[in-house]
């Protein structure tokens, strides 16, 4: 009786694992979200590939800066060329600014000429909260072993001024290059900048 009781207590304590904040060098938080094609995507299905997560909101001026100048699209294309999987994630809650339906998100991808592998819809904000995504854009790079290698800003120019893109230090590009060539990533975490995620 006592033994089975203790087993039960132990089992319960195992199920009650506390949600841990994402940390560089740790396994990236697992997630499961539906993409704009209605397909459920998980982090584990991309094991063996580098994954880039991009939190986005089409109405945000910081996002507009990078899409308006073609900077984000270029990065997406280059990432794909390098074999990385690019997932754009929309965590705006229904009724909040930036919330879009699957069709709306596809339309955005088309009109912006964006090239993500998939756009994930996260209206409940579960994926966003697991990653503690704060801003749009907020970028994460996960290596082929599922380990979080970079989190933070897209570059070192926290403004809405598109003129700053030229000559900016793009942390995501740096991280992807370093991972591809097996080098150490210079900046593994930075302050994200942008509009707040509209949970």
């Amino acid at each position: 009786m006592m033994k089975s009781l203790l087993c039960a207590v132990a089992a319960l304590s195992l199920t009650a694992t506390v949600h841990a904040a994402p940390a560089i060098g740790d396994p990236a938080p697992a997630f499961s979200a539906v993409d704009t094609a209605g397909k459920t995507r998980t982090l584990s299905e991309f094991k063996g590939k580098t994954v880039v997560l991009e939190w986005t909101n089409d109405g945000c001026p910081y996002v507009k800066k990078h899409y308006g100048a073609g900077n984000m699209q270029k990065l997406q294309q280059d990432a794909a060329k390098g074999g990385a999987v690019w997932l754009s994630i929309i965590s705006s809650a229904p009724g909040k600014q930036g919330y879009v339906t699957a069709a709306g998100a596809n339309e955005l991808t088309r009109t912006r000429g964006a090239a993500p592998a998939a756009v994930l819809l996260d209206p409940k904000g579960d994926v966003g909260r697991a990653y503690e995504a704060q801003t749009t854009p907020h970028m994460y790079v996960i290596d082929k072993d599922g380990v979080l290698r970079y989190m933070g800003a897209i570059d070192d120019k926290p403004t809405t001024d598109a003129a700053t893109i030229h000559g900016a230090r793009n942390y995501v590009r740096e991280a992807l290059t370093a991972i591809a060539s097996g080098q150490k990533i210079a900046e593994t975490a930075t302050d994200p900048y942008g509009c707040s995620v509209k949970y």
Partner: protein, 723 residues
């Protein structure tokens, strides 16, 4: 020629003023470049200019550290030769929550002051034009980057320039909001950081907040709403509520670490945390504006005292704790949980009372009770030593043990109903009870009494148990033994006193009826336990438990039949039957799918008439920071005392009205399943189990701990509502 250049200069001034370029208006912000004085001193010195932003309702701009998103306002000056502008003298910000996130910034209006160094030898009568390019981000649910090029022309004057009447008050207010810089090293502040939390320690603030009042404030007075705003992003989680916890000297604020401090390398590099500490006095009268003081502080790395609040129960002297435990045990006899067992006990007593040595029976019972209490205490200690965070009632936080208890009570009920007998052949009921189990049976009645008593916590018990676990193991066990002593005491007293024994009715045929009747409280208890299980497991699990009950009853019936049949073959067959059925029942239990209900955060135990929210430490801290009165009810589905209180005192319309009238927020912590946050709150108040009722008056640093048995008038008094 001279005339022409003068004309040209004049013309330029006119053009500038025609543009009215000291003001820029967007649909969200009215931005104006303003000066504190009406002229520039010819002899040089320092004057203040500022960008004044007046925001539309709901819009805000940002502080130097914007928090979890956003961007601070910037000013790029174009000044005549010899002039220089300082950085913005930021007034302390407000915390602006947005969904899950929080920003540091300003709503309504803000004056961003800048000090301009004026060179010597200016010509009185001439004019100076100050020009700045202002960039800011203004957000509501959307963010708009805005910018304006503003300029302001002031005449050069002899002597000290007079103040600008239109703006001097706004400047004064903004200056008052600039954090005080401490030149003397009086505020020794320190921080300690792990990869999870940062603790900020402000030990010497007592002396400093004393300015302006007669009596020095204690840190507690200023603890309310104490908020630390770091200058650097990513050091702490900006959206986490901050609560000042008084320690022996000064106070601490513990907040989740931001990414910068979660990273081991960067944490090591962080030598200091700089920012602004904003404190609000709590001793202001109603209607009086909050007295706020803000300090610029630099926290260096160091040792901070553990922010463990005083454990109230630890102040109990040992003797008093033991006395409380005995009293608690005594009162436990009056609690509904033990009632079915006590009825059985009463029956046994009638029997034993007329036996030769009634006192032996009483002692066996007491031994059973005390041994079980000691075992439970030992198990608790052991689990804690293993790092488990458990408290009284832990044995019921596992659906497995609740279900097992339901099984045991079912068997007891079936036994009372006469489906089967314990201990061999059936004899005349008259001799049955005394002979059958004998002293061992009585011992196990004691064990059973303790097991079913778990859902009830009696007054005095909470404090005693809370005390027990702050003490060495021997004392913990002693307190548990004292509880058992108290629970068993009335029965021992009866059996020890021949006079009382003589008062008992004589055994007879009525006892059989009474025994059969007693099966029903048992079945009722089983129904209740199954209900508890239903709060803990999925519907499939519930199905298994109930199926197990049926199998168990089948086994008991087969066992009973076997007992009454002589034929050997039949016995073997029935034994197999018993075996298979009980095996089925055990499998049903063991494969119980767990579905801890804490995950969905819905309090399961209460169907409150009062709108309630689930308890979390963060929510409580946030409500307290807002200065709202809060009532916290820590409860569990298996806690009978809790359910009683909820029925009697917490679900009446009168109480509901009182909650509404007083604006008190009702938080329910459901401990039916294990929940570390609730365990922590219990421990903080020296408790090891539910119920615990806490009332946090607005601004109070400590809650009022209410008794474990509530009633309506007490609730009205607590909520400050008169009938």
């Amino acid at each position: 020629m001279r005339f022409v250049s003068a004309l040209l200069a004049l013309l330029m001034v006119v053009v500038a003023s025609a543009q009215a370029a000291d003001l820029a208006t967007t649909p969200r912000v009215e931005a104006r470049l303003v000066a504190e004085v009406t002229g520039v001193p010819a002899a040089g010195g320092t004057i203040s200019l500022a960008l004044h932003q007046k925001m539309q309702e709901g819009w805000h701009t940002y502080w130097i550290n914007p928090g979890e998103s956003g961007e601070p306002t910037t000013l790029a000056w174009t000044l005549p030769e010899g002039f220089a502008a300082s950085a913005i003298k930021w007034p302390y910000p407000e915390r602006i929550p947005f969904g899950d996130l929080a920003n540091y910034g300003y709503s309504n209006e803000v004056l961003l002051r800048v000090e301009i160094a004026v060179p010597e030898g200016l010509k009185p009568g001439s004019t100076i034009t100050f020009k700045t390019e202002a960039n800011w981000l203004v957000c509501k649910d959307v963010c708009i980057p805005e910018s304006a090029t503003l300029d302001l022309t002031l005449p050069v004057v002899d002597g000290a320039p007079p103040k600008n009447d239109a703006w001097k008050e706004t400047f004064a207010a903004a200056r008052a909001k600039e954090p005080k810089k401490e030149s003397q090293p009086v505020i020794f502040t320190e921080f300690a950081a792990t990869d999870k939390d940062v603790t900020l320690y402000f030990p010497a603030l007592t002396a400093h907040v004393a300015t302006g009042t007669q009596e020095p404030h204690t840190p507690k007075d200023f603890g309310k709403g104490a908020q630390f705003f770091p200058y650097t992003k990513g050091l702490i989680k900006a959206s986490a509520p901050q609560v000042a916890v008084p320690v022996e000297k000064g106070f601490t604020i513990t907040v989740p670490a931001g990414w910068r401090l979660r990273d081991a390398e960067r944490r090591k590099e962080t030598e200091a945390i700089e920012g602004v500490l904003v404190m609000r006095a709590i001793d202001t009268a109603v209607g009086e504006p909050d007295r706020v003081e803000a300090y610029e502080v630099s926290l260096s790395r160091g040792e901070v005292p553990a922010a463990t609040p005083q454990i109230a129960a630890a102040d109990l002297p040992l003797l008093q704790a033991i006395l409380f435990a005995v009293l608690g045990g005594l009162i436990l006899n009056l609690m509904p949980c033990v009632f079915p067992i006590l009825s059985m006990k009463a029956l046994a007593l009638v029997q034993a009372g007329h036996a030769e040595r009634p006192w032996a029976d009483g002692l066996a019972y007491m031994l059973g009770v005390m041994a079980t209490f000691a075992a439970l205490g030992g198990a608790l200690l052991w689990l804690r030593a293993m790092g488990e965070d458990v408290g009284w009632g832990f044995q019921l936080q596992s659906p497995l043990s609740v279900a097992a208890l339901a099984y045991v009570l079912t068997l007891v009920g079936l036994n009372l109903s006469g489906v089967f007998n314990v201990g061999g052949s059936v004899q005349g009921m008259g001799q049955g009870l005394a002979q059958r189990g004998g002293l061992i049976g009585t011992f196990f009645t004691g064990v059973l009494a303790v097991i079913v008593a778990a859902p009830c916590t009696a007054p005095f018990m909470g404090a005693a148990m809370g005390y027990a676990f702050t003490q060495p193991s021997a004392i913990t066990i002693a307190v548990f033994l004292a509880l058992g002593f108290g629970l068993a005491l009335p029965w021992v007293v009866v059996t020890l006193s021949p006079a009382l024994v003589r008062l008992l009715p004589r055994p007879g045929a009525w006892m059989e009826r009474f025994k059969q009747f007693l099966a029903f409280p048992m079945y009722a208890a089983v129904v209740w336990l199954v209900w508890v299980v239903s709060q803990q497991v999925t519907p499939e699990g519930l199905f298994r438990v109930m199926l197990g009950l049926v199998l168990l009853a089948l086994a008991a019936w087969a066992f009973g039949v076997a007992q009454s049949r002589a034929a050997r073959s039949e016995r073997i067959l029935l034994s197999g039957f018993v075996f298979l059925a009980s095996l089925g029942a055990s499998i049903a239990l063991i494969a119980l799918p767990f579905a801890p209900r804490t995950a969905d955060g819905q309090p399961a135990a209460v169907d409150a008439a009062i709108p309630a929210e689930p308890y979390t430490a963060a929510r409580l801290a946030a409500l307290r920071a807002e200065g709202k009165p809060v009532f916290v009810n820590l409860t569990a589905a298996w806690c009978v005392s809790c359910l009683y209180n909820e029925r009697v005192a917490l679900s009446s319309n009168i109480t509901a009205e009182a909650f509404k009238a007083s604006g008190t927020i009702y938080l329910i912590g459901d401990w039916t399943n294990r929940n570390p946050e609730i365990s922590a709150l219990l421990k903080q108040h020296g408790r090891e189990g539910v119920p615990l009722y806490l009332y946090y008056a607005p601004g109070a640093s400590e809650p009022r701990i209410l008794p474990q048995i509530l009633n309506e008038s007490l609730m009205l008094e607590v909520l400050g509502v008169s009938r």
